[in-house]
C-alpha cells in the first residue's frame, strides 16, 4: 500500500508539472475572478442569465462579431444540452428576424429569405476583408469559442479563466494612466495585452433593456453575455459534468471491488 501511495504521488507530480508547463505568462494583470453559475464540479448554466446574455449578444455584439459555429436551433429544446430555455416557437421567431442568403434558386440566382431554426447564426459581414474594412483594419473575432481560447493561470484549470478574462475586458475600459498615449482608433483596456484594443467600449449601463426587467447595469450585462458565450463555447458542459460524476462514482465502486478481489487472491501467496 505504501508503494501505491508513492506511485500515486509521482503520477500526481508528473501531472502538476504537465499542467504548469501548459500555462504561458503574459504582461497584463489577470482579470479578477468572478462567481459563475457554471463553476465547479456540479455547476450549471443559469437559464435567466443565458437568455439575457443572448439578448446582449443579439442586440449589441452581433453587429460586429459573428458566431459561425452556432445555429438558431441550438437555443431551443433540441439544442445541445437542452438549449438556453427558449421554446421551439421562440427559436423560430428569433431566426425569422434575420435575413439569410440562400440559393441559387431555379433561375440560378441567390436570394434572401427570413431565417429558419436550422440556419447558422448570420454573420454581420460577408467576409473577413469586409469586417476589416468596416472596423479600422481589425476584424472583430468570431465569438463561438472565445472563452475557450482565452484565459490562463489556475482558473483555467476549471475552465473559468476565459470567462474571467472576457468579463475583465468588457469592464476594463478606462482612461489611460498619465503619460500613456493611446493610438488613434484604439481604446485603453486594463486587461488587454498591450492595453490598446481596437474595440470601442461595447457595453455601458442600460445599453439593453432586459425583457425580464433585470436592472441592466454594466457588470450585469457583461456577466450575462459571458455566461451566454461560455454556453456557446461548450453547450454540452452540463452533460459533460453530469456524465462525469456518474462515471467517476462507478469507477470508484469498480476499483474498490477490484482492490478487494486482488487482496483476497494475493492473500494465499504470502
Amino acid at each position: 500500500m505504501k508503494r501505491l501511495v508513492t506511485i500515486a504521488a509521482v503520477s500526481g507530480a508528473v501531472l502538476m508539472a504537465a499542467a504548469s508547463g501548459a500555462w504561458a505568462q503574459e504582461e497584463p494583470p489577470d482579470a479578477p475572478h468572478q462567481n459563475w453559475s457554471f463553476a465547479g464540479v456540479f455547476g450549471t448554466f443559469d437559464r435567466g442569465a443565458l437568455q439575457r446574455g443572448f439578448q446582449v449578444y443579439n442586440e449589441v455584439c452581433s453587429n460586429c462579431h459573428s458566431m459561425k459555429l452556432l445555429h438558431y436551433r441550438d437555443l431551443g429544446p433540441d439544442g445541445p444540452g437542452g438549449g438556453i430555455g427558449f421554446s421551439v416557437a421562440e427559436v423560430a421567431a428569433i431566426a425569422a428576424q434575420k435575413q439569410v442568403e440562400d440559393g441559387p434558386n431555379d433561375q440560378g440566382e441567390m436570394f434572401r429569405r427570413p431565417g429558419k431554426a436550422q440556419d447558422a447564426f448570420v454573420s454581420p459581414f460577408p467576409n473577413e476583408q469586409a469586417a476589416r474594412a468596416a472596423n479600422g483594419g481589425a476584424a472583430p473575432p468570431d465569438l463561438s469559442v472565445m472563452v475557450k481560447s482565452r484565459g490562463k493561470g489556475l482558473e483555467y484549470l476549471w475552465g473559468e479563466g476565459g470567462p474571467d478574462y472576457v468579463f475583465g475586458i468588457l469592464n476594463g475600459f478606462e482612461n489611460p494612466p498619465a503619460g500613456v498615449k493611446v493610438t488613434e482608433g484604439k481604446y485603453y483596456n486594463t486587461y488587454f495585452a498591450g492595453h490598446q484594443i481596437s474595440m470601442p467600449p461595447p457595453l455601458a449601463d442600460n445599453t439593453v433593456k432586459f425583457q425580464d426587467n433585470t436592472k441592466a447595469a454594466l457588470p450585469q450585462e457583461a456577466h450575462d453575455v459571458v455566461t451566454f458565450l461560455t454556453w456557446a463555447a461548450e453547450p454540452y458542459m452540463e452533460e459533460r459534468k453530469e456524465t462525469g460524476a456518474k462515471t467517476i462514482l462507478f469507477l470508484l465502486a469498480m476499483t474498490g471491488v477490484l482492490y478487494g478481489a486482488k487482496r483476497k487472491v494475493w492473500k494465499n501467496l504470502h
Binding site: 508503494r3 506511485i7 500515486a8 509521482v10 503520477s11 508528473v14 501531472l15 508539472a17 504537465a18 499542467a19 504548469s20 508547463g21 501548459a22 500555462w23 504561458a24 505568462q25 503574459e26 464540479v41 459561425k68 459555429l69 441550438d74 445541445p80 473575432p141 463561438s144 469559442v145 475557450k148 481560447s149 482565452r150 484565459g151 490562463k152 483555467y156 484549470l157 476549471w158 475552465g159 479563466g161 495585452a193 463555447a233 461548450e234 453547450p235 454540452y236 452533460e239 459533460r240 459534468k241 456524465t243 462525469g244 460524476a245 462515471t247 467517476i248 469507477l251 470508484l252 469498480m254 476499483t255 477490484l258 482492490y259 478481489a261 486482488k262 487472491v265 494475493w266 501467496l269 504470502h270
Partner: protein, 421 residues
C-alpha cells in the same frame, strides 16, 4: 490427422475442435492465463499493460473521430468543433482522445523511468528496450501530426517551428523541408499528408508493440530485485494474480483520467488552439505540447541551430545506447547505493528541462536550460559508465522467493549505509 491435439482446458468440444485447427485458445491460455511472471512485481509494472490499453483507447476513439474530421485547411477547425457539438457524444470522443495523448505519454514516461530505475534494459533485454525507444519515437511523431489536425493557432505555429528544424540540415535542408510540407510553408497538402500519417503510424506502433512483446516473452519480465527467475517457486501465473493487479491499477488510472476528461478537459492543452490557424498572425509564444517540452528546452539551450537539432534528437538516441553505457551488471537500483541517487538527479533534471521549455528563453531560464542540457548528456555519457566501474553493489538476494518470504531482505537500510562508507 497429424499434429498435436489441443491442450486447452475446456469441456467444450467446439472450442477443442477450433483450437486443434486454429490454436487461438491455447495461445491465450499459454501467453495470458498460465503465463509465468516473477512473483514480486510491484505496481510500477502496471504501466506496461496500461500503455497497451491506452493505445487501444486512442485507436478506438481516433477511428470514430476520423469519420467526422475534414482534413482541409478551410474546414478542419470547424469540423472538429462541429463533431463536438452536433455528433452524439462527440465531445466525449474528442476529449478522451485529446487528453488520452497526454496520459499516454505520462504512462509511457513512467514506464521508461521504471525501466531505467530497475535496469530493465540490461542483458538479455537490450532489444526489448530498444524497441521501446522506437515506440517512443513513433508516439512522438504521431502526437505531433495529431496536434496539427485541429488546425488551431498552436497547431499551425508549432508545426511551423518543428518542420523548420529540417532546414538546419546543410545543403539539402531546404529541399527536404519543401518536400515534407508539399510546399514552401504549411498548407493544405501538409494537412492532408499529416492526417494520412497520423492514421498510419498508430498501426505501425501496434506492430512494434508486437515485437516488444515477443522480445519480452523471450526472457520474461524483469522484477524489482533485478535478479533472474531461478525456478517455479519464483513465479506465479499471470492469471489471476496479475490480471487482477493490472485491472485494479487500471481502475485507479481511469478515475484520474476521468477527472481530467469530465472536469478539466482543456487544462493540458493551450487556449490558443481554439483560435483557427492564421498564417499572418504569430502568437506571442509558441509552445509545443507539454510532453515534448524537455526536448524543446534542449533544442533552445544550444545557440547553434544545427547542433541544437542534433542535441534534441540525440537526447532520445542516447537511450538506444543505454544498455552499453551502463556498465554495472546489477540491474535493480535497490542494490546500487550510488546510482540510486543519480537516478533521481536525472528525474529532477528532466523536470527542470520541462519547466525551461515552457518559459521564454530569458534570464535564469537560459542558464538553467544550459546546465540541465549539459547534465542530461553528462549523466548518460560520463556518469553512467563511471559509476558502473566504481560503485560497489550490495549483495544480491539468493532468489526471488527467498527475498519475498523473508520480507525485509529486499532493502536492508543498515547494510546499505555500510556499503557506501
Amino acid at each position: 490427422m497429424s499434429g498435436t491435439p489441443s491442450t486447452v482446458r475446456t469441456n467444450s468440444r467446439l472450442i477443442r475442435w477450433i483450437d486443434t485447427r486454429l490454436p487461438l485458445f491455447s495461445f491465450a491460455q499459454d501467453s495470458v492465463l498460465d503465463y509465468p511472471e516473477p512473483r514480486n512485481l510491484s505496481y510500477w509494472w502496471n504501466f506496461g499493460s496500461l500503455a497497451g490499453i491506452m493505445l487501444l483507447i486512442m485507436i478506438g476513439t481516433g477511428v470514430f473521430l476520423a469519420m467526422q474530421y475534414t482534413p482541409n485547411t478551410d474546414l478542419a477547425f470547424d469540423s472538429v468543433e462541429r463533431l463536438m457539438r452536433d455528433v452524439n457524444y462527440g465531445w466525449l470522443l474528442r476529449y478522451i482522445h485529446m487528453n488520452g495523448a497526454s496520459f499516454f505519454f505520462i504512462i509511457v514516461y513512467i514506464h521508461i523511468f521504471r525501466g531505467v530505475y530497475f535496469g530493465s534494459y540490461k542483458e538479455p533485454r537490450e532489444l526489448l528496450w530498444m524497441l521501446g525507444v522506437v515506440i517512443l519515437l513513433l508516439m512522438m511523431a504521431t502526437a505531433f501530426f495529431g496536434y496539427v489536425l485541429p488546425w488551431g493557432q498552436m497547431s499551425y505555429w508549432g508545426a511551423t517551428v518543428i518542420t523548420n528544424l529540417f532546414t538546419a540540415i546543410p545543403v539539402v535542408g531546404n529541399p527536404i523541408h519543401t518536400w515534407l510540407l508539399g510546399g514552401f510553408s504549411l498548407g493544405n497538402p501538409t494537412l492532408n499528408r499529416f492526417f494520412s500519417l497520423h492514421y498510419l503510424l498508430p498501426f505501425i506502433i501496434v506492430g512494434v508493440v508486437g515485437l516488444h512483446l515477443i522480445a519480452l516473452r523471450q526472457h520474461g519480465s524483469n522484477n524489482p530485485l533485478g535478479i533472474a527467475v531461478k525456478g517455479p517457486q519464483d513465479e506465479i501465473p499471470f492469471h489471476p494474480y496479475y490480471t487482477l493487479k493490472d485491472m485494479f491499477g487500471l481502475g485507479v488510472f481511469l478515475i484520474i483520467f476521468a477527472i481530467f476528461i469530465f472536469e478539466m478537459p482543456n487544462v493540458l492543452g493551450d487556449p490558443a488552439n481554439y483560435i483557427q490557424a492564421n498564417p499572418l498572425q504569430t502568437p506571442s509564444e509558441i509552445v509545443p505540447e507539454w510532453y515534448l517540452l524537455p526536448f524543446y528546452a534542449i533544442l533552445r539551450s544550444i545557440p547553434d541551430k544545427l547542433i541544437g537539432v542534433l542535441a534534441m534528437f540525440g537526447a532520445i538516441f542516447v537511450l538506444f545506447l543505454l544498455p552499453w553505457l551502463d556498465t554495472s551488471r546489477v540491474r535493480s537500483s535497490y542494490f546500487r547505493p550510488i546510482y540510486k541517487w543519480v537516478f533521481w538527479l536525472l528525474v529532477i533534471d528532466v523536470f527542470a528541462l520541462g519547466t525551461v521549455g515552457a518559459h521564454r528563453p530569458e534570464g535564469a531560464y537560459i542558464v538553467i536550460g544550459r546546465i540541465a542540457t549539459f547534465y542530461y548528456f553528462f549523466h548518460f555519457i560520463i556518469l553512467l559508465p563511471l559509476i558502473g566501474w566504481f560503485e560497489r553493489p550490495l549483495p544480491l538476494p539468493e532468489s526471488i522467493s527467498a527475498a519475498v518470504t523473508k520480507k525485509s531482505v529486499a532493502v536492508p537500510a543498515a547494510t546499505e549505509r555500510r556499503a557506501v562508507s
